[in-house]
Amino acid sequence: MGKRVAIVGYGQTYQRSSRKDVNGVELINEAVVTALADAELTIRDIDAIVIGNMDHFEGINYVDMWSAEGSGAVMKPVIKVCTGGTTGTTVAMCAYYHVASGMFNKVLAIGWEKNSESDTTGAIITAFHPVWERPTLGGAVAGLAIEASKYMHNYGATERDGARVAVRERLHALNNPYAHLHQEWMKGIPPEKLVDLIVGSEQNAMLAYPLRMSDMCPRTDGAAAVIFAAEGSAEKIAPVPAWVHATANRHNFVYAGDVDMDRNTTIAEASKAVFKKAGVKEPLKEIDVCELYLPYSYAGLKWIEDIGFCAYGEGPRLLWDGVTDMDGELPINPSGGVMSSNAIGATALIRVGEAALQVMGKAGPRQVKGGNVNLALATGFGGCYWGDVMLLGKKKPA
């Protein structure tokens, strides 16, 4: 049996549209230094490093090597993992396995991206098959629009339902100084009214039906770092460590045309595996807060059904009932989520870091349930419906 593992430190840069004041290595270093300070550790305490991003967004090959001086990997074990949008959770899982294996005691997980340095849509298209898919692909936006329209077709969801998710994410982001999008004008306006304003706005350009600008995530420059430690060390480093209760992932599709657009089956299977391992029977009741990788609004309706928080087609009801708002039964994305900041290689790791903050009671203005969080769920999404899931908890896992 492996070691129990907890998150003991988290640091992120301010997520911004462009960080021209730093190069990539310096940006990475900012997050690393912040995470080490959070855990009151130095780089000498770190036994191994895991880093991730997507090469073509910055045009840097062998990023784990190139970043060694900024990440702290000089004369340390380091590896790079990459699975697209899921990269951050894949990094977190890799760091978890490093520590759980018993081979390393304290491991630093780093995710980063400088999306301002290239054409993000152009780079995303290169994720698809050069012969069969690239000639006709419409980028990530069109791929998600297709999923959204299928969901609307199947369950009768409306553009207002999608907008309700966007409103929640943007309102939550106002509590998060690190978030990229701060739409201050939204402050104090009720969600229903904001939905009316967004759906009716002529400036809110249609990108690919039903997705408008307001339904999408931004392109962001940012980095994040999370420190994982083994039982025995973790309790000494953090007053309240965020224990990893279970983690799992699935990735079944290679070709875009194979993807089951009716349900997000990979997130569903990975969630099921995690809940089984952790003994979670009623996710909506047992889980206190979520940080979900929702790259666009309609994912906030459909994917919460696939995770198992409600029945198929009931996602919109949860949203309109306020269940997923800050003071609801299951707050989703107190950080403002991916729709408020998306430095792609960092984004999923930020979900893990933010979920850990909630468990540790260190989330400040975005803390939910007065710090009384026992279980927090983080997810990642990438590639052809790559799904990563990690469940964190206050109690040491069995």
Binding site: T126, P130, V131, T136, G138, H153, L211, Y255, A256, G257
Partner: protein, 160 residues
């Protein structure tokens, strides 16, 4: 050398300019057969896994479900007509990395489930009329006059 001024340093960036990384991607035997059928006979083929009976378009060497190798003998014809599984009208332009030029908008991108296939071929539709391009609508492949052995030998799918 005034340090206060150093803080105001002009922030520079280095452009990679027109630099590009050329590649020659192998299509493989299965894919080459598919493209040759498009080019020479205006026919679309798929591949049927003898294990799970799924028909994949385009043909591929491995069935992921069964982890079974598929041979050229497993290739079967599928129809050039099918149904829109799902589609979207794309309104935003971007530089297409495979051509280097801005892709004109709007256009309709669709997952087409051809009759006889279990997976979808991703392609363009001939219409951007939201009333016509709907889930479940019937479509038929329209081939280019001059074909070169490329996915774009299918010009687009016409909504019937």
């Amino acid at each position: 050398m005034n340090d206060k001024k150093r803080e105001d340093v002009e922030l520079l960036s280095i452009s990679s300019g027109e630099a590009s990384q050329p590649f020659d991607w192998s299509v493989g035997k299965h894919g080459s057969y598919f493209l040759q059928q498009l080019r020479d006979n205006k026919k679309i083929v798929g591949i049927k896994c003898p294990g799970c009976q799924r028909v994949y378009v385009p043909p591929r060497p491995v069935c992921g479900h069964c982890f079974k190798g598929l041979t050229l003998d497993d290739i079967i014809p599928v129809s050039d007509e099918g149904t829109i599984y799902v589609c979207t009208i794309v309104q935003f332009g971007f530089v297409d990395p495979s051509t280097g030029i801005q892709r004109p908008v709007p256009y309709t991108w669709a997952f087409v489930k051809l009759d006889g296939a279990d997976t979808c071929l991703t392609h363009f539709l001939d219409s951007t009329d939201a009333e016509k391009v709907k889930v479940g609508a019937r479509v038929k492949a329209v081939f280019e006059e001059k074909r070169t052995g490329n996915l774009m030998d299918i010009k687009h799918f016409a909504v019937l």
